[in-house]
Every structure is written in C-alpha cells, then in structure tokens.
C-alpha cells in the first residue's frame, strides 16, 4: 500500500532523512521507533506531502505521491495525525471533526456514521462536543486529533507520537484504541519513542536512527533484540 524507495529529505540546509526504503501492506500495523531527533516526524511529514523529498520516491496505492500536495494525498486515503496535533483550537470539537471529514463533505450519511464511530471509540468527545478544542486536556486533544484523522475515512493512518506528554494510564487507553482501529481494518503506521508500548501492539517495526533505517523486523523479535532493548527499552 505504501512504498518508499531511497527517500531523502532536507530541512533547510541539513539532511534529516537519508536513503529510507520501507513498505507497508494493506491491513498492517507497523511501528516506527526512534529517539528524539531521529527523523520520525520528518519522515511522516514527507509521506503526507507537507515536506517534499529531495531524492527517492513515495508510492501510495500504486501512485507516486512525492510531488503531490498534502491535500491531494489525503484525498487518496492517507491521513496523518501529526505530532503537536495541529487541531483548530478555536473551533468546537464537533467542528474539528467536521473539518476532518472535509474531503467527503457531501457524504452526509457517511460523516454521521463516522462521528458515531469515533464517539464510540472516545466517548469523551461526545461529552465535549461543543467545547473549543483548545480548552481540552492533553489526552483529550490527542483523542480528538486521532478522531479527526479518522474522519476522512483513511485506508492508511499515520500516527506521529500519540503518547507524547501523556500520563501512562492515558497512553494505555490510547494504545488500546489504536489497536482497535487497526482491527477494524485501517492500516496503521505508528511512530513512537515509547518503544515498549509500540512493540506490544504492532506486528512489525522499523528502527530509525539519524535519519536512516537501521533495523526492521517483527515486533516480537525487536522487543527481545539487544540493540533495541539497550537503546529504546532502557534495559
């Protein structure tokens, strides 16, 4: 479904991502591990079309997307829930969700169904429906960001560090919900510093270091790997 070949991205004058190749198949649940500054966010922003790679190709559902604008990539069925959430702080929770469904704005029935689904996933969003997004707690904002990303009914969902800055109990809750989203049929690519959490729920993982993939494999093997344990699991 998603194929990256030898992708490199610059930011200003520095190369952040170099020679990244990876592949994600329909239905997969894949994690991208790496420490702060490894280039996870840059890689995700490149895939979503916010940044343009200076080298290599990105292919989504058989179409080359590395020159497409971000809004066109969303229309193809790829949705990024970004680091820092990028919600619309002065719009209500409900309007944020409606904006999430912008690309299918004429499909009123589908939108209603999706709102029902995300509210079932995150009941707090129903309670907070009319509240401004900027007034939610960090955990609630993260739930809203995931919900908004789901509103476009994506085939591939990129989640960039959903656990960042959240209390362990909320991280656990969000991890369960993300797993549930994958089980309902959405392919998920999850970027995490919290390797412990990510490797427990995903099937496969890539390890990114200084902008390059240094390791890949099934999650249950990575979790026992010495290098991964030392670097990311604090063992």
């Amino acid at each position: 479904m998603l194929k990256l070949r030898n992708v490199a991205t610059n930011f200003g004058n520095s190369v952040i991502i170099r020679g990244v190749s990876l592949e994600i198949k329909k239905g997969d649940f894949v994690s991208l591990l790496g420490s702060n500054g490894a280039g996870k966010t840059t890689l995700f922003r490149t895939i979503a079309g916010i940044l343009k790679p200076c080298q290599g190709t990105v292919e989504f559902k058989g179409r080359q997307t590395n020159r497409m604008s971000a809004d066109k990539i969303v229309k193809l069925g790829l949705s990024l829930c970004p680091e820092g959430r990028h919600l619309f702080p002065q719009l209500s929770v409900h309007k944020n969700l409606m904006m999430g469904a912008y690309i299918r704005r004429r499909d009123h029935k589908g939108i209603k169904r999706s709102i029902g689904q995300v509210q079932e996933l995150f009941p707090i969003l129903k309670e907070r429906k009319e509240q401004m997004a900027g007034t939610l707690s960090g955990g609630e904002q993260q739930m809203l960001a995931i919900a908004r990303a789901l509103m476009s009914d994506p085939e591939l969902l990129l989640l960039d560090e959903p656990s960042i800055g959240l209390a362990p109990l909320i991280v656990k809750n969000i991890a369960d919900k993300v797993k549930a989203i994958n089980e309902m049929g959405t392919t998920i690519f999850l970027s995490e510093q919290n390797a412990n959490m990510a490797l427990k729920i995903t099937g496969r993982g890539y390890v990114l270091e200084s902008g390059s993939i240094i390791m890949e494999g099934p999650s249950n093997q990575l979790i026992t790997d010495d290098v991964v344990r030392k670097a990311y699991l604090g063992a």
Binding site: I50, L87, M99, Y102
Partner: protein, 287 residues
C-alpha cells in the same frame, strides 16, 4: 438632542463601511499573517469601477455595485496569486515590501489613467427621509442596511457552512488544514476575493456621498488597521465592533468638538484603548 442623534446616525453609517473594510482586512490578516497594506487601494479601485460602470456604461446603481464586487473579487484573487503567494515561507518583510509596492502601483495607476481630480457618482437615492426626528438621505440609510446585511451574511457563511469554516481552519492552523485535505491556496484565494469584494461594496455604497479620489484609500487603510488592532488582531467580532466604535468616535468628536480634528479622535481612541487593554477588545493573550 437632535444634533446628537444626527451625529450618532452618521457615526453608524461611517462605522458600517469601516466594519466592512476592517472585516476584509482581518480575514486576510488571519490567513496570511501579514497586513495587506494595499487593502485601502482595492477599496479605492472598487469605487472607480463603480463610477465608470455608471458614468460610461450606464449601469444602474445596484448592477454597478454588484459588478464592482465581482471585478474586485477577481482582482483580489490575482493579487493573492501573483503578489503574496510566491512569498509564502519567506521572511515577513518581503510581504510587507510587496504590499507597499502594490499600494503605490494601484494608487498611481489610477491617477495616471483616470486623473487625480475628485469624481462623484450621481446620487441614485437623493430623497430625504425623516426618522426619529433626524433628517437624512435614503442613500445613507441604504449604506447602513446593506452593510448590516452583508456583515450578517458573511458571519453566517463562515460560521455555518463548511467552505466558510475552512477560512477559520486555515487561520487557526495552516498545517492542520492541509492535513484534513483542505487546499490552502484555494482558501487564500477565496478569502482575498471576499475581502476585496467587501471593500468594493463599502466603497461603492459610499461613493455617492463622498468624493472619490486615487488617494481615498490611504487614510482609510490606516483607520482599518486602527480598527483591527482595536478589536484584537484576527477577531471578526472585534473588527465589526471596532468599526462602529471608530465611526461613532469620529462622528461625535467631529460634530461636538471639531470637525477638523475628527481623525485625531480616531487615532486617540486607539492609543487610549490599547493603553487600557493592550490585546484589543476581543484580543486573546498571546501565548
């Protein structure tokens, strides 16, 4: 008392056009985060377009106003596309310089093509009206009613429709907007069209009352900046309320103290309000 009501009425009329101009400016500011100094000149151009449609092509008043709005809407889109969009991502100073360049270009082009002498659109509604003890012209009443209707329609568009909400979404988080599939360039284009069309409407409605000259936009754009700073940058309610406050301050100050100093009252009000509330009336604390 009669003089007071008369001045309040004039203040509301002035305020209606100020509110329309300031609304357009604040919308564009919210999207680009750079003040469009040429906004007053788009206003001026709108008045000239209306003038020529009426005097050269015998358009009726309303047909001319609406055509002028459409023409200026297109001009606004072109300005966005060719003056501002190429500068996105560059230092803000570049957009400032471009804005001032555009201001000079528009003002002087109009002066060269149509001359610097003041022109006046013949009064379409010259009849006087007696209302609550004051005497005014139908035209002045029309300015108020039309402005209020347009302001309400714009609010409904932005708050109640999905396309209108995209303007708020882009203003609040540009990247977030891209990530939900909004074409940010298209939204910028639409916002400039609305902003310029509003300026054209305000200018056309006022044109039968005041003279039109190539420099008519210069002071107005300063006042519009006063209004949006007064109201709190990026706030639509602030722009509307600020417009009416400025209109009333000018009109009452001009009527009761000295007409020669009416602009002093306007800018004095800015200094005073910012001294008391530095974020403006509806401004949010910066974070």
């Amino acid at each position: 008392m009669e003089l007071f009501l008369q001045q309040v009425f004039n203040g509301i009329m002035l305020g209606s056009t100020y509110a329309m101009v300031a609304l357009g400016l604040t919308l564009v500011f919210g999207i680009l985060h750079v003040p469009n100094f040429a906004h007053g000149n788009l206003y001026m151009l709108g008045a000239y377009v209306t003038f020529f449609l009426i005097s050269l092509y015998q358009f009726g008043f309303w047909a001319a106003v609406i055509s002028s709005m459409v023409i200026l809407g297109v001009v606004g889109m072109l300005v966005e596309r060719f003056v501002y969009r190429p500068l996105i991502g560059q230092p803000h100073i570049n957009m400032f310089i471009s804005a001032i360049g555009l201001l000079i270009l528009l003002e002087n082009s109009v002066a060269v093509v149509w001359g610097t002498s003041a022109k006046r659109i013949p009064h379409p509604y010259p009849d006087t009206v007696h209302l609550l003890g004051i005497t005014t012209t139908q035209q002045r009443l029309i300015v108020i009613v039309a402005a209020v209707i347009m302001i309400i329609l714009l609010q409904l568009f932005i708050k109640k429709t999905i396309h209108g909400t995209t303007i708020e979404a882009v203003a609040q988080d540009r990247e977030g907007a891209q990530l939900v599939g909004i074409n940010v360039n298209w939204v910028s284009s639409m916002t400039f069209a609305i902003s310029s069309a509003f300026a054209a409407a305000a200018a056309s409605l006022m044109a039968p009352i005041f003279m039109i000259t190539p420099t008519m936009g210069a002071l107005l754009v300063m006042k519009a900046f006063v209004i949006i700073i007064l109201g709190g940058l990026g706030s639509m309610q602030g722009a509307i309320l600020g417009g009416y406050i400025l209109g009333l301050v000018e009109s009452l100050g001009g009527g009761f103290i000295s007409a020669a100093y009416k602009d002093v009252f306007a800018f004095g009000a800015l200094v005073l309000i910012l001294a008391i509330k530095p974020t403006g009336l509806f401004g949010k604390e910066s974070n």
